[in-house]
């Protein structure tokens, strides 16, 4: 009896859930994707024990590249501790028994939903994106046969029609996420719904980027140090979002901020979307304008304890 069969008999999963033949098939798609940066490689996406939209593409890619020594970080909209991240991290802890972490620099594989960590990634890391709609031309041209032909012939005029419309209607390019990029001067690619704030990080990134779309059955990749250019016009160059205030908790500037509504009277705060980055900065003593005073936090904790009693 083979090892795998024994595992199944004992009611255990194969390492990282997928069977070895499936991983092999996905690895082939990944290799092809790396060989043709930005090209969408079709693959036989499997049913996963979670609904489409939860990152089944990213999960399959991660499952195929994980080794026993890997350390996994799971991000959901920049955060490590929201539902999607917690569930998927738990999934891999259970099925692969590997180490997981919140810390960006410690992870070897980072699966992310719609953010790239603020901390610069290294050559030793792989960034796996969950992609809902891999085709950047989809909302302009609904026919798959036609979009494939457009990619093959590098017929990308339509993409600029969309940007033209943005400027004509709003005075500036109003696309703020899933902002189309051209990879290695060849393929136009959708960098998944990450805010365009993260687009400059994709360019010449040291880490390998893998994109998996489970429902749409496509995998694409950007190898390390690949040129990635955000599409724009000469007189309306690509720009990222700017925030006029620093993070309310850690005081960080030039990072992507989330808006948090505080009450129903217009109170709100802006905090780092990358929760791990924010925590590390606060641990290092950085304070934003709305951060709790350490002493006050102490008092608050005592109050709570008393209430509990």
């Amino acid at each position: 009896m083979s090892d795998t069969a024994q595992l199944y008999d004992q009611g255990e999963y194969n390492f990282a859930y997928l069977d070895e033949q499936t991983k092999r098939m996905i690895r082939r798609a990944i290799l092809k994707g790396i060989a043709i940066p930005g090209y969408q490689v079709p693959f036989a996406s499997r049913e996963m024990p979670m609904p489409y939209g939860w990152g089944t593409g990213g999960v399959q890619v991660t499952a195929s590249i994980l080794g026993k020594d890997d350390c996994l970080k799971m991000i959901d909209q920049g955060s490590d501790d929201t539902t999607n991240a917690v569930s998927l991290r738990g999934f891999f802890e259970k099925t692969a028994g590997i180490r997981t972490t919140f810390e960006t620099s410690e992870a070897t594989v980072i699966q992310t939903r719609h953010r790239i960590p603020e901390k610069t990634l290294t050559e030793d890391q792989v960034l796996v994106f969950q992609v809902p709609i891999p085709e950047p031309l989809r909302f302009l041209e609904p026919r798959e046969t036609e979009t494939r032909k457009m990619h093959a012939l590098e017929d990308y005029g339509l993409m600029h029609v969309k940007l033209y419309e943005d400027i004509a209607k709003n005075g500036h390019i109003a696309t703020t996420y899933a902002y189309p990029v051209k990879v290695n001067d060849r393929y136009v690619m959708d960098p998944s719904p990450t805010p365009k704030f993260d687009n400059p990080k994709i360019d010449e990134m040291a880490a390998l980027q893998l994109y998996g779309a489970g429902r749409e059955k496509r995998i694409y990749a950007i190898p390390p140090y690949t040129k990635v250019k955000s599409l724009d016009f000469e007189d309306y160059p690509f720009e990222v979002q700017k925030f006029d205030k620093p993070c309310a908790l850690c005081g960080a500037e030039n990072v992507y901020l989330d808006e948090v509504i505080l009450d129903d009277r217009g109170g709100r705060m802006f905090v780092c979307s990358d929760s791990n980055y924010c925590e590390e900065r606060r641990a290092a003593g950085h304070r934003g304008p709305m951060a709790a005073d350490p002493a006050a936090a102490q008092i608050g904790a005592t109050d709570l304890q008393e209430t509990a009693r």
């Binding site: 032909k149 012939l153 017929d155 005029g157 339509l158 600029h160 029609v161 969309k162 033209y164 419309e165 400027i167 004509a168 209607k169 724009d232 016009f233 000469e234 007189d235 309306y236």
Partner: protein, 262 residues
């Protein structure tokens, strides 16, 4: 300017035949088209006019026969031996296609300016200001007010849509334009205005045009030469005035005599 003289034909059509199963779409059509020439293809519904036009414009491969086109570098190329990329480039730079129903030739969900600018962006124009001013200029040439540049074609009248479609096609200065019943579905006064505009543009730009119409008045106004089709065959061809004033074939005589006189 083109490197060849106007003595050389722009388009050469040799024995083009298209079958739909056992039935004939168009049979054994041959003609040459010279630069600056307007050729009308007339005939009743089902006579094979549109089939022929689609064959010529590479939208429908003929069953037999060859179509050659003189590229901008002066070489004669068989259209169906071009690569797909070459064919697409040809269709969005050197050619235009004006559909009967403007909605088929326009992007109805993007603004008039983007409709006109699309071809420019497709051939690599990346300066928003230039694209917009070119679009504005072309809207002016087809008599659409500047303040409609950001409106969707959905909000345009039939005549305006048709003029917008023409602007969208002419923006890259094509040398050959195919038109399929460009005045169909428009009321008479709008038709007259559109014909006026077309005639002016064609002569100003020195366009070659293949125009399909069932309306002999349109053919008379616009075209230099005319081909009369019936049951998929060309039954009579010649100078427009000659054919319409002195039709030789009984069927052509019937067509000419069926025009309502007011």
């Amino acid at each position: 300017m083109s490197v060849f003289t106007s003595d050389d034909p722009l388009l050469q059509v040799h024995n083009v035949t298209r079958y739909y199963g056992d039935r004939i779409g168009c049979a054994d059509v041959s003609f040459d088209l010279w630069p600056g020439e307007v050729l009308a293809i007339v005939g009743e519904s089902g006579s094979g006019k549109t089939t022929l036009l689609n064959c010529l414009s590479t939208r429908l491969a003929p069953t037999t026969g060859a179509i050659e086109y003189r590229m901008r570098d002066g070489t004669m190329r068989n259209l169906y031996q071009l690569t797909e990329a070459e064919r697409r480039l040809l269709m969005r730079t050197d050619w235009g296609f004006v559909h009967q129903n403007a909605a088929d030739g326009l992007r109805m969900t993007v603004s008039a300016g983007a409709n006109v600018g699309e071809r420019l962006m497709a051939v690599g124009e990346r300066h928003y200001g230039n694209i917009r001013s070119t679009a504005d200029d072309w809207l002016g040439r087809v008599e659409i007010d500047s303040d409609r540049i950001d409106d969707d074609p959905r909000s345009f009248s039939g005549g305006m849509r048709q003029r917008l479609q023409i602007a969208r096609n002419l923006v890259t200065h094509p040398r050959l334009v195919f038109m399929d019943e460009p005045t169909g579905g428009l009321d008479v006064s709008v038709q007259a205005r559109l014909l006026d505009l077309l005639r002016r543009l064609v002569s100003d730009l020195g366009l070659s045009v293949v125009i399909v119409t069932h309306d002999l008045a349109v053919a008379r106004l616009l075209s230099h030469r005319i081909m009369v089709m019936r049951h998929g065959n060309v039954i009579e061809a010649g100078l427009t005035d000659q054919v319409l004033d002195d039709p030789r074939e009984p069927y052509t005589q019937l067509l000419v005599s069926s025009i309502l006189q007011v």
